[in-house]
Structures are given as C-alpha cells and as structure tokens.
C-alpha cells in the first residue's frame, strides 16, 4: 500500500525535475491534467507546446477558443500518459490567428480545465 501511495509523489517530483510541470495543481496518477503552454505569450511563426495528461482508455479533446467564445482549433487526443500538443497559432482553416487572448480547454467526460494563452504578432 505504501508503494502505491508513493507513486503519485514520485511522478510529480520527476515531472517537476524535468521542467514539464508548471501547473499550480500537480497531476494525479489516474486523472487528466492540463499544463501551461510554453512559450506563453507566443509569437506568430512559432509553436507553443501544451502538456496534457490523459487517462488510459479515453479519447479526450483539447479545444482552443478566442475571447468571443468562438472555437478556433480542436485537437482529439488518443489516450496516453504525458503528451504534448503543439499549436502553431493557426485556426482550423490554417489561417494565422490575430493578437489576443485565447483559451485552451482539456475536456474529458470527467474532467475539464481551461488555461489562458496570449498570441502576439
């Protein structure tokens, strides 16, 4: 039992040491988790990396909205452990998004979390 209890702690420590976790909430072993985009603010022509963790056996979605609430880009993510979604600052039609505040949300049937992202041109 003690070994099982230590697993989430070890995972958290490893993630922090690897620099892959800047969230105020540390990821739990069996739950989804959404990390901070890096870089943020991002500049057009670059790609920002959004770390996500998805529970095994679930297909989850990461969607990006603008500040009017309009959908900009959707990603479907096949379940896995720690993954990185790379966004190039373009909408679903390939057009470059304007400067502004955007929101990216990780959504599973049991989890929802939203972070802010800024694009600067």
């Amino acid at each position: 039992m003690k070994v099982i209890a230590i697993v989430p702690l070890v995972i958290t420590i490893v993630l922090v040491m690897l620099g892959g976790c800047r969230s105020t909430t540390a990821p739990e072993a069996d739950s989804a988790w959404l990390g901070e985009a890096d870089p943020n603010p991002m500049q057009v022509g670059t790609t920002t990396s959004i770390p996500v963790k998805t529970p095994a056996g679930e297909v989850v979605y990461l969607f990006i909205n603008n500040s009017l609430g309009q959908p900009v880009r959707n990603y479907s993510i096949v379940s896995g452990t720690n993954q990185v979604v790379k966004w190039d600052g373009r909408d679903q039609d390939g057009r470059i998004c304007a400067s502004g505040v955007y929101y990216y949300t990780l959504l599973t049937p049991s989890f929802s979390d939203t972070h802010k992202l800024v694009i600067i041109r």
């Binding site: 800047r22 909430t25 603010p41 609430g69 309009q70 909408d91 998004c97 800024v118």
Partner: protein, 374 residues
Amino acid sequence: MKQAVILFALILLCPCLTAGSQYVYLTNGFEPSAANLALGGNPVAAVNFWHNDPLTSFSNPAFTSLQNGIRYSSSSYNFLKIHLSNGTGSLDYKASITAVGHNGIGLLASIVPEYGYETSYGEIGVYDEFGDLLNTIELSERAEIYGLALDLNEFCKKNIPTVKFMPESVDLALGVNYIRNSNTLTGKTRYANSFDMGLLLRSPLAVSHNLQIEGALGASMFNVFNDSQKYINSNGSETIYRRLNMAAGVSANLKNTSFATGRSLGMENIVSMRLLGGGCWEIASDEKSWGIGTELGLVDLFFLRVGKHKNEKGFIEGTSYGAGLRLHYKNLIGLRYDFAHFPVVRGSKDKKCDSFGFDIDIIGLVNSRSLDKN
C-alpha cells in the same frame, strides 16, 4: 461533470470551426447594453433606439442624437464562465458611457471612467526556459469612445427651419463614434484607432388618437475605415474588429391621452410592444449571426424582454431574456435598471448582464416648470 459530458458531446457534433480570430480587439464585438442582450444581442442592436440608454449608442452611433439631456449608463458582465485553474483574475467586462443631446444633435464620451469599456482577462505568468517565473502580465483591452450624431429633421426643425430636404414623416439620424483602442498583451499599453458609423431611418406607420405604430431601419458598421494595428515584431498590421449590423423594428404604443394635458405623472404610454430582428456580418471571417426579440412595456415603467440569438455556425445560439425598470418623471429625469441573460458558447453557462443609468434633461425641466407656473 454532467456539463462536461454535454459539452464533450456537442464538440463531437460541431466540426465547423470559425475564423473569427482574424481580428484584434475582439472585445469591440461585445454588446454592452443589457436591453439589447435580452432582445437577441448584437443582431438587433442597430435598431433598438427606444431606450434612454447611451450604451445602445455603442452599436449604432446615430442613437446619440435622439434624446435630449444628459444621460449616463453603465453595465458589467463576466463573459466567459469558465474555470481557470491557472488564472488569478477574472474575465470581467465593464462599459460606461455618457451622452448629451439637444435639438437633434448629440455628443457621446467615455468620461466616468475614462474608458467606454474595459475587458479584464486577469494575468498570465511569463517563464524562462527553465520554468522560472520572470514576471506577470496584466491582460486587458480598453476603448475610449467619443461620438457625434445628428438627427437631421429634428436639427433642421429646431435650428434652421427654412431648410427641408426630407419629408417630415421620415426621420434620418446619422452618427460616428471614434474608438481609441488599447491593450496590454505585451505588458505595455499599445493603442490603435478605429471609427464606427451608424444610421437610423424611422417613420410613423399608423397614428390615431391613442395608438401609434412606428417602423425603423438601422444599420451600423464597426471599424468602417478598416483600421488596423501594426505588428510588434515585423512589418504589416492586423485588422481591428470589423462588423456590419443591420436590423429592423416595429413599435406599437397605446398612448396615455392625459399625458399631453399634463395631468399624468409621466406615463406617456400605457402599453408598448416592440418587435425587432436583424443580422450581423463579421466581414473578414464571413461569419453571420441573427437575432429576433420582442419587448413588452407597461406604463413606461416595467419592461419584459425575450429574444433568440443564432450564430451561422451554430456554436452560440439560444434564448435571451431580461427585464427593465425605469423610474422617471415625464421623460425629463429618470433612473433605470436592466438585466439580461444571454446564451454563450454551447454547454457553457449563460451570460448575465446588469446595467444601471440615469438621465436628466435640465432644459426640459426648466421649460416644464415655466409652463406649470403659467
């Protein structure tokens, strides 16, 4: 949990995504008036001039010329009801506008406070490559607004009565708003200018002893000169939020016959009923929205409103509703409060807007007292 599942299912059914993110200063697209939000939102706002509310002049600058006296109105709402695990701030939108009108000419300004609207996105942290926090940026967008409007028939009638270039039964109002946009996305304040223009055409359709029916057509355009903001790091620029709004409305009023004789406490209408409908077109993204709304007014005091809003792509649609209270004396001095519920992105919570304001027509009050003494 339930909400997340619903939203999850809706996303699967919604493959059509938009290109609305081709503009900077997207928050110019927010509707500040609670009365307009309750009646279907942006699409009807270009024609809804039947309120002594300067916030309605944001969507159609021509409205500023239609009322006499000093008017102030303020509204606020939280426009994205989402949980932000990394957010330290809110997503608040606040708008405040002051307007002055007399004899068919109107001026509008964002005086108290100095911005017409402010959208606060909270703050984000900026990190270095090692994940260490370098600094935080307070994210916001603001707009200072200054407007000028002319109600042509009213202006000519009161100021140059010899000039008559339109039938008296038709009233045309024109207006322009200058918007000084600013944002803090880079940590420093950046500015960009744009202009909104609007017109309103109205005419009585039927008039009898105690019934008045009026029709109106309104149109306005945000960023009419296609102004833009320069890039920070390279040559070129990006367009400020741009939209064309067109709407039509009919208003029927059952008149209070004792109002004209001065034996009434200020209830010009016993019952009023309005039907409005219109559409918006975001030009660069070719995105369209429609809205319809109806309003029932009782003794110019209580107002009930319901509307329907639909986006072409279908991601924001639903029923809007709200109510208003206006305490006033003969349309010369008044206080108002309005609230509205408006649909936002499917699966998210409704947008709730509150608005309050006051108006006073000092010249009208003085004239009214003089008449009473005589």
